[in-house]
């Protein structure tokens, strides 16, 4: 299935490109990030996920949240403020 992703926190995602990624059925939000890493040839530092928050189809999601086909995923800074 396909998931469209926007990496809003570009400073933390080291060249992961916005766009559509293919993941297997039953994939989670974190699986989508891993698919993006593989596709873009980027390896994020360990624990980088902790610096993210996710909005999946307009709802707050966690790394373990299953992703439906055709979903829209935003990867945001976990820390907000100002």
């Amino acid at each position: 299935m396909k998931v469209w992703v926007k990496f809003v926190c570009k400073d933390l995602t080291g060249g992961l490109a916005n766009g559509e990624y293919s993941v297997p059925d039953g994939a989670t939000v974190l699986d989508v990030i891993r698919a993006a890493e593989k596709s873009c040839g980027v390896t994020l530092p360990p624990d980088r996920d902790k610096a993210f928050q996710y909005i999946l189809n307009d709802k707050a999601a966690q790394g373990y949240t299953p992703v439906p086909d055709g979903a829209k995923l935003y990867v945001l800074h976990a820390r907000l403020g100002g």
């Binding site: 307009d58 707050a60 976990a78 907000l80 100002g82």
Partner: protein, 621 residues
């Protein structure tokens, strides 16, 4: 006394007299500086239930011991008064360079009472005080006034805290400005200053403030620099490069930012509208140079130049997150030029951008639901997202050029009362508009907004900014067992604010270092336990001012909309309602305070210490 000038200046503007009083060691040790030192002074000096704008009302401009003494991120001063907006305690702080300059002019704080017969400014020059005529400055914008005063004194570097036309008109959203685009903005500080016909406090000096251990301060600064290169390097990098506006897009997507007067959701904005107002996007178009407050290694500010379009600006401060959100997502506006121009207008005329943008949003919702006619709007067709209408109404407010502009200048509650309409669209805490962090996303903010002694602030302590709202829903919406973490966050932020540190020190300073800085500056040798009692005392002091005014728990209100009553029907915050009373119960239970009244018991006051006068007033002991 190390860490302080040891002097407080009391100014009576009615008879133009001044009195210098000692800042005693007890006062400094127990209340540190900033808001709580201010609350302690006003508790004694201002009769209970004085109107905020009456001659007997006091306005304090107060430094913290970190101002001008070397600690990194220690450049913020505080303005205190009773609030004409909430009717209770008010404090607001600001960065830039003014705080350190105030101290070097010879005083830790200046308190004003009375009313000058004609407009004046007060000039402190290395301890010497003089009253200067400001009749020729009354009516001028903040920028015009800064230029005129610097020319008059033939000194481009004097520190100036001043009001614009907003303060002169006693607007509920009038700010006190410094360094052109920094503001102690909230709660009507500028109105209190304007009520005294005080245009500016101007300071100059090179008085040295002794500290206990200068080498230790240098060592702590080095530790801070290493910390900022280490575990928090990426956060520092974001704020250093793009400032608070760096996270605008994130906030509009996550539900953190207010959208459509808090009644909308992320779906009401396009992806392009969310991205264009992020400072990373705007920097590419407008950035001229960087700006940093005194002693700040992060340097989250920048100066913009708007070269093209209908609202060209030679120099204007980069919009903070609060500004972009209040003039952006709150109004469904995705136009960066209008946001920058409205920001500039607010700085020029001396308005608080949070209340100003929120007031526009309220007026928009009223107009777009048919509560106001086009004629009542002064012919301004204030449709959601219409940048020209947003600018036109902003100009009408700033210049008080239409009836609607004049009424909106009083902010949302006064406008609703004036027209007797739109009460259902008011979103505030005890009357003051809410900053751009949605309590439905970070529930702890609801407790802070409603029940902090200075209501409606995101820069006061509590769970909201500790947890940041990114936790799993089952955790953040459980409303259980929050009291301890809530109180710990309050204790920490009380010390931050009273010492004069910036709130970005929550990541910019290593954990636990603030008390060590205070111990290097002063002779007080606070232990960890002292630090806990200090934070509790600082919080209780502000609360005690409100108690003395007769305010109890039930007097602190919050609008239903911001706590999800009724809940939103779509978006990341869909179907969320905050149990704010439970959060407050948890907090007061942790404090050991009475749940119904929020009165601290005798035992609490005795344990915390330094609050004998509160004990006496509440319990006659």
């Amino acid at each position: 006394m190390n860490g302080y000038t040891g002097k407080l200046l009391f100014v009576n503007l009615t008879d133009k007299t001044c009195e210098v009083r000692e800042l005693t060691e007890d006062l400094a040790k127990n209340f540190v500086g900033g808001p709580s030192l201010g609350a302690r002074i006003l508790y004694d000096e201002m009769p209970p239930n004085t109107d905020a704008l009456a001659p007997e009302s006091l306005l304090g401009i107060i430094s913290g011991p970190t101002n001008g003494t070397g600690p990194l991120m220690g450049g913020r001063y505080t303005v205190v008064s009773k609030s004409p907006v909430t009717g209770g305690w008010n404090d607001a702080n600001s960065g830039g360079n003014f705080g350190p300059i105030l101290r070097k002019s010879g005083y830790d704080a200046v308190f004003f009472k009375g009313v000058s017969e004609t407009p004046v400014y007060l000039f402190i020059d290395n301890g010497e005080v003089s009253f200067r005529d400001a009749s020729h400055l009354w009516g001028k914008t903040t920028i015009e006034t800064e230029i005129a005063i610097r020319a008059e004194l033939d000194d481009p570097k004097v520190g100036i805290a001043l009001i614009g036309p907003a303060g002169e008109r006693l607007s509920n959203m009038a700010a006190i400005m410094n360094d052109t685009h920094r503001a102690a903005g909230r709660g009507g500080t500028g109105a209190v200053m304007g009520s005294k016909r005080l245009k500016a406090l101007v300071c100059r000096g090179d008085i040295k403030i002794e500290v206990r251990d200068k080498a230790e301060i240098v060592a702590l600064n080095k530790e801070t620099v290493e910390w900022e290169k280490g575990p928090v390097a990426e956060v520092v990098k974001i704020f250093s490069a793009w400032g608070t506006g760096s996270l605008y897009e994130d906030s509009t997507i996550s539900g953190d930012a207010g959208i459509k007067n808090w009644g909308g959701s992320a779906k009401d904005l396009t992806d392009e509208q969310k991205e264009i107002l992020t400072s990373a996007s705007m920097d590419k178009m407008y950035r001229k140079k960087k700006f940093a407050c005194n002693a700040c290694p992060v340097g989250c500010g920048a100066i913009y130049e708007i070269k093209d379009g209908p609202w060209k600006l030679e120099e204007t401060g980069r919009p903070e997150y609060e500004t972009s959100s209040n003039f952006g997502s709150m109004l469904l506006n995705g136009d960066p030029q209008s946001v920058n121009y409205c920001n500039f207008l607010c700085n020029e005329y001396g308005y608080d951008v949070i209340s100003f943008g929120s007031t526009l949003a309220w007026a928009m919702e009223c107009y777009n639901t048919g509560l106001f006619t086009l004629e009542e709007m002064g012919g301004i067709d204030l449709k959601w997202g219409d940048r020209d209408a947003i600018v036109a109404m902003s100009e009408a407010i700033c210049r008080a050029s239409t009836e609607m502009g004049r009424v909106l200048g009083g902010a949302t509650v006064a406008a609703a009362r004036h027209y007797n309409r739109g009460f259902e669209f008011l979103v505030n805490a005890s009357g003051i508009e809410i900053p751009q962090h949605d309590a439905r996303r970070a529930p702890g903010l609801a407790r802070t907004y409603q029940y902090d002694p200075t209501p409606g602030r995101h820069v006061k302590g509590g769970l909201g900014f500790t947890d940041h709202g990114a936790e799993p829903p089952e955790q953040k919406y459980s409303f259980k067992d929050t009291g301890r973490r809530d109180l710990d966050a309050v204790i920490d932020l009380e010390i931050t604010n009273c010492a004069g540190f910036c709130q970005l020190s929550d990541f910019g300073l290593p954990p636990g270092i603030k008390l060590r800085f205070l111990n290097a500056l002063t002779d007080f040798n606070y232990s960890e336990e002292d630090g806990v009692n200090l934070g509790l005392r600082l919080f209780t002091m502000r609360h005690a001012f409100n108690l003395r005014e007769g305010m109890r728990r039930g007097d602190f209100k919050i609008s239903d909309r911001i706590v999800g009553k009724p809940p939103l029907k779509e978006g990341p915050l869909e179907n969320i309602t905050i149990d704010n009373e439970q959060l407050a119960d948890n907090f007061y239970t942790e404090l050991g305070w009475d749940l119904e009244t929020a009165l601290p018991p005798k035992e609490f006051l005795e344990k915390v210490g330094g609050l004998d006068f509160v004990l006496r007033d509440l319990y006659g002991a």
